[in-house]
């Protein structure tokens, strides 16, 4: 009897309760949990819609027929105030007679672009620094960890304002500044994970067979730290969006006439007492976006780490269990499943 035959017969024996037990990777399990989280799913849909709106901004503007920077003479009242929603301007106008709806749609482009790209940069940077600090340890770790502490503890808004003042306020400057102040939180988590992982036997084994440090970091360590990174990164996006809007609100982020939610709200400050729509609509857009990302981030965390407790999940849990526990499973046999 050859070795392959042994394995073959062994496998058929294992398959006995046909289809009852399905092997699933942790990622598949996480994905299933995420899909059954209705709040996270709704948030994901909102985010996808926002992205579509942002991508289609020029199209929306041309359908409405109001480019974002055109100041319409009939867009302001006789007293020079913004016109209320309705009629020609669905969400009203701003103080310069521009279509608020179109400007909010264009603002979504800025928010999402800044939020996603600065998070991407911060993630790559944070993971790289965290891996290096955790893997090498010693002096390298000491210096990098201290540097993370300083970046984290610093009044980042003030430093961000200084950097933007010196280097000029542009879209990519804003992205760079936000990324610079976001990577440290990630790096700290990756560093912590790496510190404990590198003591494991499989890393020792990898080193023993002569794997280079780069290979160990990329192939052996990275896949094992990616779960917390994913969670933190999802939660960094709304932080970055808030950061951008704050910079723009203070006049040191995205500059007029380019529309961003922050500078629209800054412009509304003198007028919203009489023109509520000028504040409420952009503020609402901002709130919906950050809320959606935060909820999705929470959902991703719950999906990846099922030990975290879900306050709103009580009802769903009861319903989800019979679906998870297949009726084909023999009674009395423990079901290894999520939840």
């Amino acid at each position: 009897m050859s070795l392959t035959e042994v394995q073959f017969t062994g496998a058929t024996v294992e398959q006995a309760p046909a289809g009852a037990i399905q092997g699933r990777s942790p990622w598949q399990l996480a994905w299933r949990r995420l899909r059954s989280d209705r709040l996270a799913l709704a948030s994901a849909i909102v985010i996808v819609l926002l992205c579509l709106v942002a991508l289609a901004a020029p199209l929306i503007a041309s359908v409405i027929g109001h480019p974002p920077a055109i100041q319409y003479p009939n867009g302001t009242t006789a007293q020079g105030l913004p016109t209320p929603p309705g009629g020609q301007f669905l969400l009203g106008t701003d103080n310069l007679g521009r279509d608020l709806l179109v400007r909010i749609v264009y603002g979504a482009r800025i928010s999402l672009l800044v939020g996603l790209s600065s998070t991407a940069i911060a993630t790559v940077l944070g993971v790289a620094v965290g891996l290096v600090a955790g893997y090498y340890g010693g002096v390298i770790d000491g210096v990098l960890a201290r540097f993370m502490d300083v970046v984290l503890a610093f009044p980042y808004l003030i430093l961000a304002l200084a950097l933007v003042t010196v280097f000029g306020a542009s879209l990519w400057m804003v992205v760079a500044v936000i990324a610079f102040f976001s990577w440290a939180a990630l790096a700290r988590i990756v560093r912590g994970q790496t510190l404990s992982l590198k003591e494991k036997e499989y890393i020792e084994a990898a080193r023993a067979i002569g794997a280079s440090p780069l290979r160990i970091m990329m192939v052996d360590l990275l896949p094992n730290v990616i779960a917390p990174v994913l969670v933190v990164a999802t939660l960094l996006v709304p932080t970055a969006i808030v950061f951008e809007s704050t910079l723009s609100y203070l006049g040191l982020g995205i500059q007029e006439p380019t529309a961003s939610w922050g500078n629209i709200i800054a412009g509304s400050q003198q007028f919203y007492e009489v023109a509520w729509w000028f504040l409420i609509f952009p503020a609402g857009a901002l709130l919906i976006t950050t809320l959606a990302f935060n909820l999705l981030g929470d959902g991703v965390r719950d999906a990846i780490d099922p030990s975290t407790e879900r306050i709103f999940a009580a009802r769903r849990k009861k319903r989800a269990l019979p679906v998870g526990g297949s009726p084909l499973v023999e009674p009395g046999r423990p079901v290894v499943e999520e939840d």
């Binding site: 300083v150 984290l152 503890a153 003042t165 010196v166 809007s245 709130l287 935060n294 709103f312 009580a314």
Partner: protein
């Protein structure tokens, strides 16, 4: 002895950080070509006039020499003089400090009481209606930028009440020495604004660590030996639960100061944040440097205090 060594080390590290801050900020603003002398000379400024101004301000010397002079004055407690107003930075900061301090101290008190209070309440009544409300509040709080909170509060509380003749919450600063009651009235909305975002984060943090602490064996022991529930929660549970919260506090000093700048702007309080934004707009280097250094000192000192508080709260913490 360990304790003294620890504090000395922390202070030394703090001084190094402060020095790096002066170095970074100074060179950031002097290496980049935005010449205050040209701005001061005005549009019709001749090169001679510019040179004259440069000499008067000491801008004709190499940057490294200017930095040396600056450090020298700094060590004597002199933050320099504004290029544009000719007023000493010390007196600018001193004058602008009352609204900022009122805002930060009041906001921090509200933030901690609100955040930890809500956190403890929702942990002890986990999954109750209150807990769910708190969770919604936390999510909205975390998702709202400070300036949006401020503007919405003004819109809802002040403008609507003002229509009915109630002007108590007008966005302005009344010095405490002038009228304490009015000072308080006018600070309420700014305090809530500054506190809300951070309070949300803290209540979540407190809830989590409180639940962890209440699940420990020693809590069961405390209950088993017949302590009142109140004593179990506050003496045994909260004390342990506060450790991660206090750690986070050091990190969030920066957030608090940034939030203060935004809140001051929203409510027109004047203050150091407003002065800083003005200085950024003019490129008023010494004012920027002065304010950045004062904030950095505040952050460093607060972090040392937090570290000490940490070891008092949790005797297991080794000071290294």
């Amino acid at each position: 002895m360990d304790f003294v060594r620890f504090i000395v080390r922390r202070i030394l590290f703090g001084i190094i950080v402060l020095w790096l801050v002066t170095l970074g900020t100074f060179f950031l603003f002097f290496v980049i070509p935005s010449d205050p002398a040209v701005t001061l000379a005005g549009k019709g400024g001749t090169p001679e006039r510019v040179a004259q101004i440069k000499q008067r301000l000491g801008l004709d010397q190499p940057v490294i020499v200017q930095y040396w002079h600056y450090l020298d004055r700094l060590l004597h407690g002199d933050l320099g003089t504004s290029f544009f107003t000719g007023v000493s930075v010390n007196s600018t900061i001193k004058q602008d400090l009352p609204p900022t301090l009122s805002l930060i101290i009041g906001g921090a008190v509200l933030w901690l009481i609100g955040g930890i209070g809500v956190g403890v309440l929702s942990a002890t009544r986990a999954r109750s209606l209150l807990d769910r409300f708190a969770t919604v509040f936390v999510l909205i709080g975390i998702s709202m930028p400070t300036f949006v909170v401020g503007l919405l509060l003004l819109f809802v509380v002040y403008f609507q009440l003002a229509k009915h003749g109630i002007q108590n919450f007008a966005p302005t600063y009344i010095p405490f020495s002038q009228n304490p009651a009015q000072w308080f009235e006018h600070m309420i909305l700014p305090w809530i604004t500054l506190a809300l975002v951070s309070a949300a984060t803290y209540s979540r943090l407190t809830r989590g660590s409180m639940l962890d602490a209440l699940g420990e064996d020693y809590i069961r022991t405390a209950r088993a030996k017949g302590l009142t529930e109140r004593r179990v929660i506050y003496r045994h549970g909260l004390r342990a639960a506060l450790t991660p919260v206090v750690t986070q506090l050091g990190v969030d000093m920066g957030t608090l100061i940034g939030g203060a700048v935004v809140t001051e702007t929203v409510f027109g309080l004047g203050g150091v944040g407003a002065a800083l934004l003005r200085a950024f707009n003019y490129g008023d280097v010494y004012v920027i440097l002065g304010i950045v250094i004062v904030t950095a000192v505040a952050v460093v000192v607060a972090n040392i205090v937090v570290d000490i508080a940490y070891s008092v709260l949790d005797p297991r913490v080794r000071l290294t």
